[in-house]
């Protein structure tokens, strides 16, 4: 069950494990969203979410390597039951007919959620080593937000008519 995390007493090992599962959760969610949109033949938005699976997977791998380097195979005290939707986009954000721009905006909000998570945690963390790591992760999330904004800026403006105006409701059933 979801439990409040005591950031004031968290160890570096647990903090790293936490960061890993945050990325793992986001990776899985992007995969689910890509599956959903592929099912509804929205290949463009699905491709972007599939790309995000790759991005989150790289982040997860990088953090997992760091954890392994510092703590080897020590058992983890952190489980997925302790977090809910930290960096994972909300399920209700997607729509069958969404454009790539909308998909990027979903990702932007997800990155911002993660930024806020580490920002809130930093309000409680006292250990200098963990503070340093969380500051780095917070900075990373900010950087990801910037990159997504840059990508959005490259896209053409949304058409006046949306797909909702011209096509029927989803027919996966």
């Amino acid at each position: 069950m979801t439990r409040a995390i005591d950031f004031a007493n968290i160890t570096l090992r647990d903090a790293l494990d936490l960061a890993v599962i945050v990325e793992e959760e986001a990776k899985e969610r992007y995969g689910e969203l890509a599956d959903q949109l592929e099912l509804h033949h929205n290949e463009d938005a699905a491709r972007f979410f599939r790309h995000m699976v790759h991005v989150e997977s790289l982040h997860e791998h990088r953090l997992a390597e760091r954890r392994k380097h510092l703590f080897g195979d020590q058992p983890s005290s952190v489980t997925r039951a302790m977090i809910f939707d930290v960096e994972a986009p909300d399920y209700d954000e997607v729509r069958a007919t969404m454009t790539v721009r909308r998909a990027l905006e979903v990702s932007l909000r997800a990155e911002h959620k993660a930024y806020e998570f580490f920002d809130r945690a930093l309000g409680e963390v006292a250990d200098p080593g963990i503070r340093k790591m969380f500051e780095e992760l917070r900075r990373d999330e900010k950087e990801h937000e910037r990159r997504v904004r840059d990508e959005i800026a490259k896209l053409p403006p949304e058409p006046v008519m949306t797909a909702d105006d011209v096509i029927d409701e989803p027919v996966a059933h």
């Binding site: 069950m1 979801t2 439990r3 409040a4 995390i5 005591d6 007493n9 968290i10 160890t11 647990d14 936490l18 689910e32 969203l33 599956d35 959903q36 949109l37 099912l39 509804h40 058992p75 983890s76 005290s77 952190v78 489980t79 997925r80 039951a81 302790m82 809910f84 939707d85 909300d90 399920y91 209700d92 954000e93 997607v94 729509r95 069958a96 969404m98 409701e169 989803p170 996966a172 059933h173």
Partner: protein, 296 residues
């Protein structure tokens, strides 16, 4: 809690209850969140998938058993509860979950709900209440509010909706809760509590339909407006207080446990098990049997 304490890791994780089937709900559907909450609740309960039976009726939400690794029975429209009760009586060791929509539970299946409640069979009934028939593309359902316009009701509903919370409270349900996918942690918690409750437990989940529902951003509205019962000082052992709050169904979104009978009555499966034990005991002597029927 501190996560730096020695690890006491759960036996199962949410992923252990996730099947290989990919949900085919519309992207954005509230049921995705409900499914995640169910995975989490089952992981917290810690029973292996093969000890769980998941029964459903017909509708979008009734696809849910197939998305879990538990035994599943996607049954007949409105008949999930009788089938689930039969499963529990035949094999009381199984943990039995029932899922369906508001149409399945309060229209065609509405007559089964009171009987499941009065029998008090130990099962958990999760209703994904989207106030519309989504699978058949947007007809009014029993919980559609008056005035709701859909693709097949251009002038809006003329009828008052069923209030699922009042319905089950009035019939004597001993555990009644409500949740929303806008608060997946809270939803997982009430589902877990419902499963742990010994007897019939009811969880109404306001799970928006993003395709045929009234508002495209209902989950966001839920997030902004929901009122957790723990924060309003509600006493969940008080049925009358629960009914008083339940009257606001459709106007306000209260989440959490409305009612939990602090002294759970016997369950039907428990009583049947007792009776079976009596019947399997060695037969009484002739004198004892005659004595039982002696006119006093």
């Amino acid at each position: 809690m501190s996560i730096s304490t020695p690890p006491v890791l759960p036996k199962y994780q949410a992923k252990d209850f996730k099947s290989e089937l990919k949900p085919i709900w519309c992207p954005g559907c509230g049921d995705f969140g409900v499914l995640q909450a169910i995975y989490r609740a089952l992981a917290a309960i810690g029973r292996p998938p093969h000890e769980i039976a998941f029964v459903s009726g017909i509708g979008c939400s009734s696809r849910i058993p197939g998305y879990t690794t538990a035994y599943g029975f996607n049954s007949v429209h409105g008949r999930a509860l009788p089938i689930a009760q039969g499963i529990k009586l035949a094999n009381p060791d199984l943990l039995v979950l029932v899922a369906g929509g508001d149409g399945d539970g309060f229209s065609i299946g509405g007559g089964h709900v009171p009987h499941a409640i009065r029998r008090n069979t130990d099962l958990t009934y999760i209703v994904m209440d989207n106030q519309i028939y989504g699978l058949t593309k947007g007809q009014l359902s029993p919980t559609s509010h008056r005035g709701l316009k859909t693709v097949t009701s251009e002038y809006g509903s003329l009828e008052e909706p069923v209030n699922p919370l009042m319905y089950v409270l009035a019939y004597g349900a001993n555990f009644v809760a409500q949740g929303t996918p806008a608060d997946m942690a809270g939803l997982a918690q009430v589902i877990e509590e419902a499963i742990r409750y010994p007897g019939f437990a009811f969880v109404n989940v306001q799970s928006p339909c993003v395709t045929f529902g009234e508002d495209d951003w209902q989950v966001k509205e839920h997030r902004a407006s929901m009122k957790p019962l723990v924060k309003v000082g509600h006493d969940p052992s008080d049925r009358i207080a629960a009914m008083s709050i339940a009257q606001h169904y459709g106007r306000e979104l209260h989440t959490g446990v409305f009612y939990r009978n602090p002294t759970p009555p016997p369950t039907l499966d428990g009583l049947v098990r007792e009776r079976q034990r009596e019947m399997s005991a060695p037969p009484a002597s002739r004198a004892t049997i005659l004595d039982r029927f002696r006119v006093k």
